[in-house]
Symmetry: D3
Subunit: 133 residues, 6 copies
Amino acid sequence: MIACNFGGPLILKIKRMSTLVKDFNAYREKMNAVILEQNNRVMKRLWNLDTNTYEEGALGQKTKEMLGLVASMVLRCDDCIKYHLGKCFELGVSTEELYEVFAVANIVGGTIVIPHTRRAAEYWEALATEGKM
Amino acid sequence: MIACNFGGPLILKIKRMSTLVKDFNAYREKMNAVILEQNNRVMKRLWNLDTNTYEEGALGQKTKEMLGLVASMVLRCDDCIKYHLGKCFELGVSTEELYEVFAVANIVGGTIVIPHTRRAAEYWEALATEGKM
Amino acid sequence: MIACNFGGPLILKIKRMSTLVKDFNAYREKMNAVILEQNNRVMKRLWNLDTNTYEEGALGQKTKEMLGLVASMVLRCDDCIKYHLGKCFELGVSTEELYEVFAVANIVGGTIVIPHTRRAAEYWEALATEGKM
Amino acid sequence: MIACNFGGPLILKIKRMSTLVKDFNAYREKMNAVILEQNNRVMKRLWNLDTNTYEEGALGQKTKEMLGLVASMVLRCDDCIKYHLGKCFELGVSTEELYEVFAVANIVGGTIVIPHTRRAAEYWEALATEGKM
Amino acid sequence: MIACNFGGPLILKIKRMSTLVKDFNAYREKMNAVILEQNNRVMKRLWNLDTNTYEEGALGQKTKEMLGLVASMVLRCDDCIKYHLGKCFELGVSTEELYEVFAVANIVGGTIVIPHTRRAAEYWEALATEGKM
Amino acid sequence: MIACNFGGPLILKIKRMSTLVKDFNAYREKMNAVILEQNNRVMKRLWNLDTNTYEEGALGQKTKEMLGLVASMVLRCDDCIKYHLGKCFELGVSTEELYEVFAVANIVGGTIVIPHTRRAAEYWEALATEGKM
């Protein structure tokens, strides 16, 4: 027999600690597939172009991903932030460097960026934690 | 005895597949009632005006709802998107037409519109699924 | 043996009625601590400055919090709105006054502010309800 | 015979010092007339509603105009800022109070609000100067 | 001998009445050339894609240009508005239809869209006037 | 006797070619002085903090200025863009690198960033031209 007396917030908390990265990626991939299936040419080409934008060029990939991150932060797009955090993590951006990107975003975009910074900080921790699992 | 081993993400997934439209409408109606109860004259008149805006005129209702949808997408307001998707669905906008609206929104507003397009695509599928139930 | 037949939406509803304020504050405090721990000087000073901004001056605290609220509403930052609603509640802003702030936000920022107004109205009720518990 | 050796910047400077307020109002009135002539019912009613929003209510007119100003600043709408500055000037907002509104706008909206604050400060001076003429 | 006693505002007015469309197009073309000369592949492909977006498809060109216009209005991009107004003019959008697009933009985006609507109305008149010359 | 037959657009063109950078800096400095004179503590501290944000740290100054630039571009703040372009120019960002920043801004922020990219490209040329004078 099981107690089952957990409420909404607890579930949410468990979810956050353990599957934040996995859930984001799963939903993203599932819905990207749904969209691409419709064969809208503009959408498909825009997505290809999006990938090209962050490729090594005169600027390195790491710099470009930080540019994508700061742009996503000031525009306050949580999912975009998560995506670029994932890339920054893979490319070896240090936590100190990351927080300097956060600082630029918060100064340029103001205190409305703070709630997004909280979720970004949480996701950054999840990247480290889930990566170890 | 019950296994009860569903976690947060699973619940979320079930919810999304079956009650996305119903939940949106229920919350919207409940809170609209709370707001209108306060009798703020500006709020009430703005909401009436909002309804008038999308009535048949020199432009047809379908065109106007697509205008409302693309505006909501570039401004990245998920609930506004859901509302206009519901109207577009009722007025017979085809999936191919819809994705051309999505394309305009993504080109004008950039890749920050993509996460909102994902949720819009999911809601569009829910409109078809829940409509059939 | 336990029924355990509650679904996602129900859990969500329970959460909303009873712990909306508590949850917001708990998450906010937890993540603020995570961010401040990193000792980024710009972030720390910006947050201090944020506090100073709303202190009594030529304008009273209540007016300043309403300014912070309307700014957060037109910029559509739900967490910022919650924060300023909490302060407005503490400082004795009346529901009638609050809805006049809502009206300015909706007129200046348009109907895309409506979904945020719904969540603001819900949080305002939660402040009264949870305050009594 | 006339020297005529003034260039673009000089002309611009002269214009700014003496006719900033007059020019803004003249253009605004001229174009409002053009728009209202088209008899679009939604536009006309929205504009009436806009006027009602700032009328004395539970909150005083001065507070409401400051709310309109801070909202316009964080949304970075120079003409909206000018309009509300004009109203604040008429209603006796002091320069010290005004700069506290500026401070809220700059903290909430970030350093991107600074260029608009510069133009707001210039217009505020013009209101005093042109008012005296 | 020449009087030369015209001031800044007068020059501005003359410019507006007679060369608004020509000036916009001239500057746009000049700077597009400067940008394309740099051969940045992402920029070039994005611009091609931008053109494709408004081509006849499931939705007609006229509808797509109105979608582009309303999106540009709520995002308050004057130059984007001018571009789509030019296209709407070419495609035979009527003034009554245009003002219904303006209405959607003003309701969705709020009164901060009004100053951009003023400039849009002025440019629409210039399209008719300059077209006749 | 002097011809004096230059019209508005011509003046504008001359201004743009020769004094774009000088004019921007002159106006910026003049109005910053006006604002700082008012001794608003929050404004003063925010501006100090703004300066600190771009100082050498875990990330180099050049990277930070590019972060500031891309953030300013997606938020479509022309004066902020000019400021960061000036800094990027001083710090030796190459034109090829710059256009990769432009590309990120245009992809993330969409085609509404294009008009700001045009003005940025013009200002970048002015920095080179005026620097030589």
